[in-house]
């Protein structure tokens, strides 16, 4: 942090004092622009630091100084944030802005290594901040606050730490309101402000649904003669609990829908395992095959360890899924969107699922090496039962995580590519004629009837069968031509005889 100083005026202590004054001044400008006009009008003392004359309010200054009492060094190591919220007469909160003063020690401007230069730049930033506070939508709200205005009040909270912007609603904007490049680092003033200022009935619910707000969230100290509510916090509280996000899409157990790209990846893994276990599958389409495979795989592999199961995406019954969540007997109350909350199901004890089997007509047969017998139309309840006999998790800690739906806008169009490649690609015939167990049905192109004891059909034999068929057709071509001609001639002769009567009776 040590920069070259040439005179006593440019000593580190003077510069630190300058930064402290500048930080306090910035907070003053921001807070004063958001309090009631009556409060400022009553002040007669003006502070003219940085060539900006601002009326001083002792109470607000004291509160700001208390907010900064934990900051030992200036410029501060961590960001200092000011949060501005609108509070209605009914007690509804709407967060309007989050101001952030931060210092970046890695961005240096060696041309500003003297107090004079730093002072000049700070003055420009203070004036910029004055303008910035007055062009934002919250300024107009601040001018109309109070009982005589809109019946609401604007509150502010100063805290140390990362700026909380998730409470600003959708489409909030973040802009830079000032910057002071110095030889010690770059001090910036940034503001994130809400763009949608409609206060709806849903807002309090949505604002508090995902966070836990303590009763003393806004501490109100006993300040005499302060008509405004000024929560003064020196120990900032996070506005929301840490949000857990899946490391990778494939690892996310909560998917709004199963994406083709993840399905393909899992499909390959499962195929390798299935081939190792000599599982046999019949599919009608690739995507359907993957979904069915995953579902039935869980039914088969009861002995698979938890570690292996973690690698697999879990069947998620989304809102538009064909499968319906299995009915279960449970003493616990039903959880909304329970199909999306895998772990909530896991919490429940092993249950014998009963209920109607909602079998589908196109469920494919499968075999199980372990059981050694053919299974048809595995009950869905059994599948879900096997799925839910897994590890347990704390229900209270779970979130409903919704992954990015497939084809949603993203930089990586892997889903679209995977889907298109899957759909455009013709199903491999050879898979159907691959290594199939003797118990399965097989078919061949020679026209033989289906036999339950056909030998395995290899690719070479398949090709030779095709060749043989083509040769046979070519040999029998004259016979076919003769037959066609006979039919045609017979039609024409009968028409001549009957005068156009119907051929078919």
């Amino acid at each position: 942090m040590a920069a070259s100083v040439s005179t006593s005026e440019d000593s580190i202590e003077n510069i630190e004092r300058l930064f402290k004054t500048f930080t306090f001044r910035c907070l003053q400008v921001i807070v004063y622009s958001r309090i009631e006009a009556n409060i400022l009008r009553s002040n007669r003392e003006f502070n003219e630091m940085f060539n900006v004359s601002i009326p001083d309010n002792p109470a607000i200054e004291d509160s700001l100084k208390k907010s900064l009492k934990d900051v030992k060094n200036f410029p501060p190591k961590g960001p200092i944030c000011v949060e501005v919220a609108l509070v209605t007469s009914e007690g509804d909160h709407m967060f309007l802005e989050t101001w952030d003063l931060s210092f970046n020690r890695s961005s240096l401007d060696m041309s500003a290594n003297r107090t004079m230069h730093i002072f000049t730049r700070m003055g420009v930033t203070i004036k910029s901040l004055l303008s910035a506070t007055r062009v934002l939508p919250a300024y107009k709200l601040a001018r109309n606050q109070g009982e005589k205005g809109g019946g609401y009040t604007l509150t502010h909270r100063v805290y140390m730490g990362k700026p909380q912007t998730h409470m600003l609603g959708e489409g909030f904007k973040t802009v830079r309101a000032g910057a002071v490049p110095t030889a010690l680092g770059l001090m910036t003033a940034t503001v994130s402000y809400r763009t949608k200022l409609l206060l709806s009935a849903d807002m309090p619910a949505s604002a508090t649904a995902a966070i836990e707000v303590k009763e003393n969230y806004f501490k109100e100290e006993a300040d005499a003669g302060i008509p405004h509510r000024s929560p003064k916090i020196s120990n900032p509280l996070p506005c929301s609990p840490p949000i857990r996000s899946p490391v990778a899409r494939s690892e996310s157990p909560y998917c709004f829908a199963v994406s083709p790209s993840s399905l393909e990846r899992e499909d390959k893994v499962m195929r390798a395992r299935a081939e190792a276990e000599s599982s046999a599958w019949e599919t009608s389409s690739k995507l359907e095959y993957s979904l069915e495979f995953l579902k039935e795989y869980f039914a088969i592999s009861q002995n698979i360890s938890l570690l292996q199961m973690d690698e697999l995406p879990e069947p998620v019954f989304g809102a538009f899924s064909r499968q319906q969540p299995a009915k279960r007997l449970s003493a616990e109350p039903e959880v909304p969107f329970e199909g999306l909350m895998r772990k909530s199901f896991l919490m429940r004890p092993e249950q014998r699922v009963s209920g109607e089997q909602t079998q589908q007509g196109d469920m494919k047969k499968m075999t199980s090496k372990e059981e050694g017998e053919e299974k048809e139309n595995i009950p869905r309840e059994q599948v879900t039962k096997n799925v839910f006999e897994m590890r347990q998790a704390n229900f209270e800690e779970e979130f409903v995580m919704i992954d990015k739906p497939p084809f949603a806008e993203e930089d990586d169009p892997a889903d679209v590519k995977a889907f298109l490649s899957a759909m455009m690609r013709a199903p491999k015939l050879y898979d159907n004629c691959g290594e199939i167990g003797s118990e399965n049905e097989t078919f061949s192109l020679v026209g033989k009837t289906k036999s339950a004891q056909s030998a395995t059909v290899s690719v070479g034999q398949y090709l030779s069968d095709v060749e043989e068929l083509v040769n046979r057709l070519e040999e029998e071509m004259p016979v076919l031509d003769e037959f066609c001609n006979s039919v045609i001639n017979m039609d024409s002769r009968e028409e001549d005889e009957d005068g156009g009567g119907f051929l078919f009776s």
Binding site: V52, M116, G178
Partner: protein, 181 residues
């Protein structure tokens, strides 16, 4: 743009920005009545020009900061601008009150964006003329005001009608501008 205290410059740093109360509106106001009067006059001239021009629905007003360069030998001194701000305005005629209200909200958003873009440029602190010695201060600062000494600046405006379509017109403007300096 003010100047800071300097050992070679005896002018005092005066606060030139005030928060004044005017009924229910707080404005950021210059503390120099002279400068404020001058700026208001220039803006009023620009406004009148826009209103009076027929068929010209747009105009621009330019704030140019410059410094005077000493003439060498027989050549006269010239002014070299070091920062030029241009604001272009398009006049829109609105028929109904609804259109006016919609346009007002859009305009306020545009103004917010413009202000922040100005703030962003200003806070880059890219260039400022070096503080001159006392003898040469008239080459950098405007000493015509009694209570305020800004950097040398001038304001000029023009009505721009439809955008120029020919390269020749543009070249003509370039030549005219370079000759004016």
């Amino acid at each position: 743009m003010n100047k800071s205290d300097d050992a070679n410059c005896q002018h005092l740093t005066r606060p030139y920005c005030n928060l004044l109360s005017d009924s229910d509106r707080w404005t950021v106001k210059l503390k120099s009545p002279e400068l404020e009067t001058y700026l208001r006059r220039e803006v009023a001239l620009f406004r009148d020009m826009l209103r009076s021009s027929e068929g010209q629905n747009s105009g621009q007003i330019t704030l140019e900061f410059y410094r005077k360069n000493k003439g060498r030998w027989l050549f006269p001194g010239e002014n070299s601008p070091w920062e030029v701000w241009t604001i272009k305005l398009d006049v829109v005629n609105l028929q109904s009150e609804n259109d006016r209200a919609d346009f007002k909200s859009k305009l306020s958003e545009q103004l917010t964006e413009k202000v922040f873009s100005i703030i962003d440029i200003i806070n880059r602190h890219e260039y400022l003329p070096r503080v001159p010695t006392r003898d040469e201060e008239v080459t950098v600062f405007d000493t015509s005001f009694m209570d305020f000494q800004p950097y040398l600046f001038k304001i000029y405006h023009q009505a721009t009608g439809p955008s120029p379509t020919s390269v020749g017109t543009t070249m003509r403007k370039f030549l005219r501008g370079s000759l004016a300096l």
